[in-house]
Amino acid sequence: MGHIILENVKKRFGEVTVIPPLDLEINDGEFVVFVGPSGCGKSTLLRLIAGLEDVTGGRIIIDGKDATSVPPARRGLAMVFQSYALYPHMSVRKNIAFPLRMARLERAEIDRRVKAAAEVLNLTDYLDRRPGQLSGGQRQRVAIGRAIVREPAAFLFDEPLSNLDAALRVGMRLEISELHKRLETTMIYVTHDQVEAMTMADKIVVLRAGNIEQVGSPLELYRNPRNLFVAGFIGSPKMNLINGSIAAQHGAETIGIRPEHIFASSEGGEWHGKVSVSEHLGSDTFFHVTCDGIPEPVTVRVGGEVDLHYGDDIWLTPDPNHLHRFDTQGLRVA
C-alpha cells in the first residue's frame, strides 16, 4: 500500500507562500520524482507529506485515510535525508533496528529483519561499526536500511545522492532503482539531477515556485513538454528555444528543437551558421552554432567524431517531426 493524494495542499511560512494550492495523486508502487529549480519547494512538499511540517490548508490522504494531522511517526512513511541523519551514537545495527524498537517489535523479529536488510544492502560486515567509521556510500545504505526495515507504505528521499561523488552516485542510483523493482513500494524522490529524474522515475513532477508545471512519465515530458518551462528544464543539453521570424515561419511565437533533433551538414541545409564552440565527447560531439538571423547560439548534437572547428561553416536542418511550437503564453501548440 502506498497511495497518496494531496488535495488543495497549501503551505505558507509566515507571509511567504511556498506552495500555492496544489493537487497531486501518487499511485501505489509508483516511483515519483520531484524536480525543479532550487528553492521551488520540493523539500517542503516532501516534508508536508512526511508530516514534519503542517499544511496551511488542504488535505493529505494516505491509503484512503485523512493523514493531514497525523504525526509523522504514525503515517507509516520512511524518509531518507540528504544528510543521512544517522544516529551517531548507535552502531549500524542499532541504527537500522531503531524504527523497529520504536514499533515495539520482539527482539528476535528485530534481529531477523535487521539481518535481512543488511544482506540486501551489503552491510553485514559493518553492523557493529558506528556511522562515523563508514564511507559516504555505506552511510547512505544504512539510511536506506533504516527506512526499509519498517516496511513503510512509501519511501521519501530528499536528494539522497547529492553528497556522493559522481561514480558512487551512478551505483547508488541503480541500487535504489533495483530496490524499487524488488519491493514494489511507492517511492517519492526529490532531486535536481536530470539524469536521476529521467532514469529512475515512473512519473516526474516538475515544480516551479510551488506550482506543478507538468506531471508525466519521463518520455511524455521529453516528447510533449506542456510549456516553455518544462521544455527548457527537461533534457540535457537544453532544448534550443528560438523566437522571432524563424518561429513565425512555423506559425508560433517560440519554437523549440532539441540538440539531438537537428541534422547538421557542412554542405547545405535550412539554417546557415558558423561553429563557435565545439565539445568533443568521443561518442557525441556538441556544436554551439551562431546562426544567421537567430540571436541565441543553437546547440546541435552529432553522433561520433565530426571534425569541425571554430569558425567553420555549418548548415542545420531541424527535424520537423520533433519541432515544438509554443504560443505567446508559452504554452504548447498542438
Binding site: G51, L52, E53, D54, S69, P71
Partner: protein
C-alpha cells in the same frame, strides 16, 4: 520549521523553566519594592501582621543621605574598578604568555586557573590568615626577612587587600576567556602584519588587542555583575569595617544587623537598578551573538 504538534509540545516543555524563573524574579522583587515604601523595624515592634506604615520615598531618601552611603558607593567603585583593572591587564598579559609555546603548558594552565575553583569563604580565610596575618602570615615572615615591619593588611590596607584577594579569584576567569579568544585569532593576520614590517608592539596594539576587544568587554561586564555583589570575601575578612563596606554589604547590614527592612529594601532597589544598567550592555553583546 515545525508542526503545530511540536510547537505546542515546545511551549509545554519551556513552561516549567519560565514559570520558575518568573516566580523567582517577580515574587521577591515585588516584595522588596513593597517593603521599600514601608517603615519596617521588626525590633521596634513593626510586623507584617499589624500592617506597616507607608512612608513613600522616605527610605530611598534616607538611604542616599545616610553618612554611610557615599563611602559605600566609593568603596564599591574602587573595589570593582581595581579588580577589573588588575584582572583585565594581567589577564591579557597572561593569556598572551600562555599562548606561547612553553614546556608543561597544561600544568601551568592548571595552576593559573585553580583559584577560580576555591570557594570564596576559603580563599578569604586563607588570605586573611595564612598570607596576611600580621604575625604568622607568609607576608609577615617575608617582611621581617627583609627587615621591614609587617603590615596589618586587613586593617591598614584593607581595600587594597580585598582587591588583591578578589583579583586572585577572578584572574583565572579573565585569563581563560582571553586565552580562548586569542587562540581563535587567525595566525595569518599576524604573519601578514609581520610581512608588512609591524613590530611586535605594533602587532599587539593593532591586531591582538582589537581582536580581544569583544572578549575584554564580556569579561568586564560579567565580572562587574559578580563583583558588585561580592559578599563572602568581606564577610569573612573585615566584616565591612576599615572602609570596605560596599553597597552590597551596607544593604546586608541594614537588613540583617540593624534590622531596618524598609531602608535595606530601598537600598536593594538601588542595587537592582545598578545591576540592570550593567546587564543591559551585557545582553546587547550576548544577544548579537545569538543571531549568528
Amino acid at each position: 520549521m515545525a508542526t503545530q504538534h511540536s510547537r505546542s509540545a515546545a511551549r509545554l516543555m519551556l513552561a516549567p523553566a519560565v514559570v520558575l524563573l518568573l516566580g523567582w524574579m517577580l515574587v521577591p522583587l515585588t516584595l522588596t519594592l513593597y517593603l521599600s515604601f514601608k517603615k519596617y523595624l521588626p525590633l521596634r515592634g513593626d510586623s507584617l501582621q499589624n500592617g506597616l506604615e507607608w512612608v513613600g520615598f522616605e527610605n530611598y531618601a534616607r538611604f542616599i543621605s545616610s553618612s554611610a552611603f557615599w563611602p559605600s558607593v566609593q568603596a564599591t567603585l574602587i573595589i570593582v574598578g581595581g579588580v577589573l583593572l588588575i584582572t583585565v591587564v594581567l589577564g591579557v598579559l597572561l593569556a598572551i604568555l600562555l599562548d606561547q609555546p612553553i614546556w608543561g603548558q597544561g600544568i601551568v594552565r592548571l595552576f593559573v586557573i585553580a583559584p577560580f575553583f576555591v570557594m570564596p569563604t576559603v580563599s578569604a580565610l586563607v588570605w586573611k590568615n595564612m598570607l596576611m596575618d600580621p604575625i604568622n602570615g607568609i607576608f609577615a615572615h617575608l617582611w621581617r626577612f627583609f627587615g621591614a615591619t609587617p603590615v596589618s593588611w586587613l586593617s591598614d590596607a584593607s581595600v587594597q587587600s580585598i582587591i588583591l584577594i578578589v583579583s586572585w579569584q577572578w584572574l583565572p576567569f579573565a585569563t581563560l576567556i582571553l586565552l580562548t579568544a586569542i587562540q581563535s585569532l587567525d595566525s595569518e593576520q599576524l604573519e601578514a602584519a609581520e610581512m608588512d614590517g609591524a613590530s611586535p608592539l605594533a602587532r599587539f596594539f593593532y591586531i591582538v588587542l582589537p581582536h580581544l576587544s569583544r572578549a575584554i568587554t564580556i569579561v568586564i561586564l560579567i565580572q562587574t555583575i559578580f563583583l558588585l555583589s561580592i559578599f563572602a570575601e568581606i564577610f569573612v575578612t573585615t566584616g565591612g569595617s576599615f572602609g570596605t563596606r560596599t553597597l552590597t554589604y551596607l544593604i546586608f547590614q541594614r537588613v540583617v544587623d540593624s534590622q531596618n527592612i524598609g531602608l535595606g529594601s530601598a537600598g536593594g532597589v538601588y542595587a537592582i537598578i545598578l545591576a540592570n544598567i550593567v546587564a543591559i550592555f551585557l545582553m546587547r553583546i550576548v544577544g548579537k551573538n545569538l543571531d549568528r
